[in-house]
Each structure stands twice: as structure tokens, then as C-alpha cells.
């Protein structure tokens, strides 16, 4: 009979190589999901020991202390204490430590000992410690902390078998599933108790660790350049430039490929199915709708590849350092930089990336302004309207006027995000400045295997979320735009007679003050699925078949029908309006409440309305009406 299964949990400081060790232990046998009721990522994998025992491994979020400050750290605390709702308490805790940076983790180990859960200590990155001439009296330290110690190099899979054997031996000796070795005496430490623990950790360091003979100097030398007040900022800006070039230029062919593939799939399905409702639902609703989001996958993958590489190298903390003052002026945290950057591709991964921000207030502010960053779904709308209304000429000799308007739209998004967060900070969360405390980790060469597996996980999460959130929305919007059918002998486009069309006509008086005609209002409704769907919808209303391929024709139709003031008002609306139901759905998921998507919708609609009204009337006054 195979031995019973066991559960272990990995705990450790951030940057201890815990996730690399998790990957080395479990290989590709991993599952990523969320913990029940909270938006903390739950990573679980399995290993099979030499004796055939199955061990499930939970990779807990990194923490410096069990005294939790963020939802992530609360999960770590509750899982270790065995109090996490819906989770079986772990039989064993594996504490992962960066062997070259033991002081802080020793204090965490002392806290873990208070909990009394059986423990194994993995001294990771042991090769670097050896190279530096750092000496650790492993037997002595193991006796002092009362837990076996294994040395590992997770990225090279060194010591992984030893660790599994040690886990097996510990599990064998267990009193019972989830049992503690002693009684749990853990409580939130007071400042005095933290000082005491530091003193104890210091005593252990002195007794069992001889400091490095050749400490790492590379990180210091790299930082001298990357954190330089002038050179550092210049490098950061260049990196961003390369990243945007990559996101927008390299992704192009791949996106065309996906679009072509989905178009072909739609054609095949359309040919296979009899004409009618089912065909329309599958081709126009599901394939086209999900496709309109999937098409952003190449951009998101390229963006995440950059982010994961920079994160694994250790640069992201430096970027937050360089940007903190600039973002802080607007009331944002330095760590908000990455989520906002991701939002230029798509606000959905951007909002998901706000999980790195500890403080709830800072995180909410970042979530609220993320959709103001000009995501790539706005590009088709911007391009269409600019092509229709902005003459293709150069100003000041070299600058393209169309390009200038495009950058103006991006700048408007960024500037409004800074202003909104500044106002939010001043008005609602006054005086609540969260501390900015961040370890600047040692630089490391990213491990290609772990980068790829991370990238694959990101892609899988994006696809599954897109599927689950967007599919039902697409069906709803398709229904609104399809039913009821136009009456016999109708002359206008079919959408005009549908619920969406009726809703557009109904809403038109509301939009008349900002210069929209009813066609524009009707296009806004299917455009709630994703911003670029508005292009197709305008095509439908103006009876231009295949609007995306025939953008020139559509632009011609628009410039004949709209005034310049109307075109500018429509552009302004698209800078600010919450024209993206999936984003609102993701905000609901991430904040676990309908309040925040409602707040987001309300403030963005108000902002869009007022800005479009101002632009419209300003343009009319200038004689562009």
C-alpha cells in the first residue's frame, strides 16, 4: 500500500528563491488558482517521493513576518497557523532562506517555531554563499533552531532530492495529519518582542555563521549606474521605450495571425452551420467577441516577458525606487509603476498586477486610475477618427500632425490619471501616507526555465479569465444588438431596430449636448464589450461591411457625416469613458465588491462627459462645428 499523502507549505522572505525552489520541486505539476474569497494567487504542486508517497506543496506568498499587513501575507499567516478557510493545515512547513541573507529569515524562523509546526529549513542559493566564502555551521544551526537543514540551489536543482528525503523523514515521524510539535504560542509580536527576536537572531548569526570573505560587490557596481539620479532615469526611460516598441511593433504580425486565424475559423463555422441565429451567435458573438480580446495576447505576452525578466533580474524594485518621487507627487506608491505600465497594453493584467501593492488604499487608487492609461484597444478607435479628421501633414517641419494628436491622447490619459489620484489622495484619504519600505534585492541572472513557466502561467490566467468574464458578456451584447429583428421592408441597418439601437436612440438626447449623433450613441453600446468593437459597430451603423479591413471607406463616411468638433468629442470620450465591461468585471473580482466598479464607472463617465462637452463646444466656438 502506498503511504498516505502529506501536505507541506513553503514559507520565506521575498527574494529568497522560494518560487524557484517550488518549480524545482514540483516541475510542471502545478495548479494556479485563487484562495477562496480573496484575490491572492494560490500555487499548489505535487511531488512523489522515493517511497511513492504523494506530497502536495503549497507555495505561500513571501513575508518578513507572520504579522500580516497585506492580503497576501494574511494568507501566509493563516495557512501556517492552520486557520485558513477552506485549506487543510499543512503537516510540515519548509522555510526557504537565501543563504547569503540569513539575518531576517532567522527572525521569521523564530516566529515559525512559536507556531510549533514541524519544519525543515532549505538554505537556498547555497552556491552563491560558497562562492562568497560564507561559512555556515549547519549542524550547529540545525540543533539551535530545532529543525533539519538542507542546502539547495533551486535553479540548478541541486539539493532537491535531499530536501524531498528530509521532508519524507519528517512526515514519517508525524504524530498525525496537521499536528503541531508543541503548543502554539504565536501572537503578533510587539516592537519590544521584535527587538528581542533580532537579538536572538544576532546571537545565532554570531555563533553559527562566519561572514562572507568575498561579499558580492557586483550589485553595488550595477546600482551605481542603474540608481544614478540622471543615468538611472535615462536608462529606465530607454527601457520603457524599447518595451513599447516591442509591444507595438513586434506583436503586430502575431496579432494579424490571430485575427486571420479567428477570421478563418469564423468562416469555417459559418460555412458549416446553416444560416440563422446559431451561426450569428457563434460567429458574430462568441468567435468575434472572444477574438477581440484574444488578439491582445501577443502584446500581453511580450509585456509580461519584459516584466518577468526585469523582476527576476531584480530591476523592478529599482524602477519603483526611481519612480517613487514622481508618482508620490500624485499620491501614488512607487510600486504602482508596473501595474500602470501594463495598463498601456490592457487594463486587465494591469489591475491584476496591483496585487504587489501592500496597502489597500494605494492599491485601490492604482486600480481606479489604471483604465485611464491608453490601452491598445483604444488604438483602432483613435486611428480611425484621426484618419478621418486630422489632415496627414507635418507641423514645424518634422512632426506629423496625426502622430502629434495620437501622443496628445496618450498624454491626456496619463495626466488625468495623475490628477485623479492626487485628488483622491487629498479628498478621501488625507494624511494617510503609507510608508515606502522596500528591499533592493541582489541582482541575479534570470533562469530561462522559470521565466518561461511564469510566462506560460500568465498567459493561461489571462486566457481563462478572458474566457470566463468575456464569454457571458459577449452573449449579452450580441443579444442586445441582434433582437428584435428589423421589420419586413426595413431600410435602415438591422442594428438600428435592435435593443442596442433602441437604447442608443433612447440615450441620444443625453449625448446630444456633447455633440454625438445617434449613430455614435448606438456604437457605444456594443463598444462596451471592448473599446475597439466600436469601430465594427460604427461600420454596421454606417453599413460599411467589414469595417476593420475597410477603415479607409469608413473614415470617408465619417468625415462626410461628422464635423471636426464631433470627431474630437468622440476621441475625448474614448480617452476617459469606461467603455470596457471586462475591466469593470475584473475590478469587481479584485476588490470583491460591486462598490469599486460602480465608483469607477461613475467617475469615468462623468469625466468623459464633461471633457467631451468641453472639447465639443470649444471646437464649435473655434468654427470647427
Amino acid at each position: 500500500m502506498a503511504p498516505a499523502t502529506a501536505r507541506i507549505a513553503l514559507v520565506g522572505n521575498p527574494n529568497s528563491g522560494k518560487t524557484a525552489l517550488f518549480n524545482a520541486l514540483t516541475g510542471s505539476r502545478q495548479k494556479v488558482a485563487n484562495y477562496a474569497g480573496v484575490t491572492v494567487e494560490r500555487k499548489e504542486g505535487t511531488i512523489t517521493t522515493a517511497s511513492g508517497r504523494t506530497v502536495s506543496v503549497l507555495d505561500l506568498p513571501g513575508a518578513y513576518s507572520l504579522r500580516a499587513r497585506s492580503p497576501d501575507e494574511a494568507v501566509t499567516r493563516d495557512a501556517v497557523l492552520g486557520q485558513l478557510k477552506g485549506e487543510t493545515p499543512p503537516d510540515l512547513v519548509v522555510c526557504v532562506a537565501d543563504a547569503t541573507n540569513l539575518r531576517l529569515v532567522l527572525r521569521l524562523i523564530l516566529e515559525l517555531r512559536q507556531v510549533g509546526r514541524p519544519m525543515v529549513l532549505a538554505l537556498n542559493m547555497y552556491d552563491i554563499a560558497e562562492r562568497q566564502g560564507l561559512r555556515i555551521d549547519i549542524e550547529g544551526l540545525a540543533a539551535a533552531i530545532g529543525a533539519p537543514i538542507v542546502t539547495t540551489v533551486a535553479t540548478r536543482r541541486r539539493g532537491v532530492e535531499d530536501l524531498v528525503a528530509q521532508i519524507e523523514a519528517k512526515v514519517e515521524a508525524l504524530a498525525g495529519a496537521g499536528a503541531l510539535e508543541g503548543s502554539n504560542t504565536w501572537h503578533e509580536p510587539s516592537p519590544a518582542e521584535i527587538r528581542q527576536a533580532h537579538a536572538e537572531a544576532q546571537r545565532l548569526m554570531k555563533a553559527y555563521v562566519r561572514p562572507a570573505e568575498r561579499p558580492d560587490t557586483l550589485t553595488g557596481r550595477i546600482d551605481a549606474v542603474l540608481l544614478h539620479p540622471v543615468a538611472g532615469l535615462a536608462i529606465l526611460l530607454s527601457l520603457l521605450f524599447v518595451m513599447f516598441q516591442a509591444v507595438f511593433a513586434w506583436a503586430g504580425p502575431l496579432m494579424d495571425g490571430i485575427e486571420g486565424g479567428l477570421g478563418a475559423l469564423g468562416g469555417l463555422v459559418a460555412a458549416a452551420l446553416p444560416d440563422g441565429l446559431m451561426e450569428s451567435l457563434i460567429v458574430d458573438g462568441l468567435i468575434a467577441g472572444v477574438g477581440s480580446v484574444l488578439v491582445f495576447l501577443p502584446q500581453i505576452l511580450i509585456l509580461f516577458l519584459f516584466i518577468i525578466l526585469l523582476e527576476d533580474f531584480g530591476y523592478m524594485a529599482r524602477a519603483a525606487f526611481l519612480m517613487d518621487r514622481i508618482m508620490g507627487g500624485a499620491g501614488l506608491h512607487g510600486r504602482a509603476f508596473i501595474p500602470l505600465l501594463s495598463s498601456f497594453a490592457c487594463a486587465i493584467p494591469g489591475i491584476m498586477a496591483t496585487r504587489v501593492i501592500d496597502s489597500r488604499r494605494d492599491r485601490l487608487t492604482t486600480i481606479m486610475v489604471a483604465p485611464l492609461m491608453a490601452c491598445s484597444a483604444r488604438i483602432p478607435v483613435y486611428t480611425l477618427i484621426i484618419a478621418a479628421f486630422i489632415p496627414n501633414q507635418t507641423v514645424w517641419g518634422v512632426v506629423s500632425l496625426q502622430g502629434l494628436v495620437m501622443s496628445g491622447l496618450y498624454t491626456a490619459g496619463i495626466a488625468s490619471a495623475l490628477v485623479i489620484s492626487f485628488i483622491a489622495r487629498r479628498l478621501f484619504w488625507r494624511g494617510q501616507v503609507e510608508p515606502f519600505l522596500m528591499e533592493l534585492p541582489t541582482y541575479k541572472t534570470p533562469d530561462p526555465k522559470s521565466v518561461l513557466s511564469n510566462l506560460w502561467q500568465r498567459a493561461a490566467i489571462f486566457i481563462s479569465r478572458a474566457g470566463r468574464i468575456i464569454l457571458p458578456l459577449m452573449v449579452l451584447i450580441w443579444t442586445l444588438a441582434t433582437f428584435p429583428y428589423p421589420p419586413e421592408g426595413a431600410t435602415g441597418p438591422a442594428i438600428d431596430y435592435s435593443f442596442a439601437g433602441q437604447l442608443g436612440h433612447l440615450l441620444h438626447p443625453l449625448f446630444a449636448p456633447i455633440g454625438f449623433n445617434w449613430q455614435m450613441t448606438v456604437a457605444l453600446i456594443p463598444g462596451m464589450a471592448a473599446r475597439e468593437v466600436a469601430v465594427g459597430a460604427l461600420g454596421t451603423v454606417y453599413a460599411v461591411a467589414d469595417a476593420e479591413a475597410q477603415a479607409g471607406t469608413l473614415a470617408g463616411a465619417l468625415s462626410a457625416d461628422w464635423s471636426l468638433a464631433m470627431g474630437l468629442a468622440f476621441l475625448t470620450w474614448y480617452v476617459f469613458a469606461p467603455q470596457c465591461a471586462p475591466t469593470l468585471a475584473v475590478v469587481k473580482r479584485e476588490t470583491n465588491s460591486w462598490l469599486w466598479p460602480a465608483v469607477m464607472f461613475a467617475y469615468m463617465v462623468t469625466l468623459a462627459y464633461l471633457a467631451a462637452m468641453g472639447v465639443y463646444h470649444g471646437a464649435v466656438a473655434l468654427g470647427w462645428g
Binding site: 518578513y64 562566519r210 525606487f321
Partner: protein
């Protein structure tokens, strides 16, 4: 100094060394942390002050730790980065006001 000793005993330091909050440090200043979280709780509630003290302690800002100011931001020299024993940590000067260092070397 003992080869194994990472934190020199405070007693070995003479009274001649100047004490100053880390928030006023300049590039290249180095010293030993003399106090954390004590005097500069202005503008924060009592609870927030203790919370900051605990966070600083948890990240290794503890009395006796060796500290050196190694980087500062372009605007107003904020935030700052310090070498703290074997680690590097970034923080804002505002939060650094809670840390008093005994300067052993000044820039």
C-alpha cells in the same frame, strides 16, 4: 573588532560621534542605528507610529545595525537607499526620520 562580530558593541563607540535622524543623511554617511521609532512620531497617530516602528524593525532597522547611505533619488534626494548590514533597503526620508543613527563616518 572581533572577526565574527557584525554589530560592533555600542559601548565601544565614544560619545564623540554625532547622532542624527537618517532622514538628514547625505550620500556616503555611515553609522550604527542608535534608536528606531522613538522621537519623530510627529504627524502620525500613536498606532500608525508603532506600526511604522514594527515594519522598520521587521526589515532589519534595529538598534546596533550597521547602516550606510548609498543612493538618493533625483528630486529632492528622495527616496534614499541604504546598505543595512548585508542587505540594501529603499525608503522615503519621511519614514527615515524615525531612525536615529550614530554617525561613524561622514561624507
Amino acid at each position: 573588532m572581533d572577526e565574527l562580530s557584525i554589530h560592533p558593541m555600542s559601548a565601544t563607540l565614544g560619545a564623540a560621534f554625532r547622532e542624527a535622524p537618517l532622514s538628514q543623511a547625505r550620500l556616503g554617511d555611515r553609522g550604527i542605528i542608535a534608536a528606531v521609532g522613538a522621537p519623530a512620531a510627529q504627524g502620525r497617530g500613536g498606532l500608525a507610529a508603532e506600526e511604522l516602528e514594527r515594519r522598520l524593525l521587521e526589515l532589519g532597522f534595529v538598534e546596533g545595525a550597521e547602516i550606510e547611505m548609498i543612493h538618493q533619488g533625483a528630486l529632492g534626494g528622495d527616496p534614499i537607499a541604504v546598505r543595512l548590514d548585508d542587505m540594501r533597503v529603499a525608503l522615503r526620508r519621511r519614514d527615515a526620520a524615525e531612525i536615529i543613527i550614530r554617525l561613524t563616518g561622514e561624507a
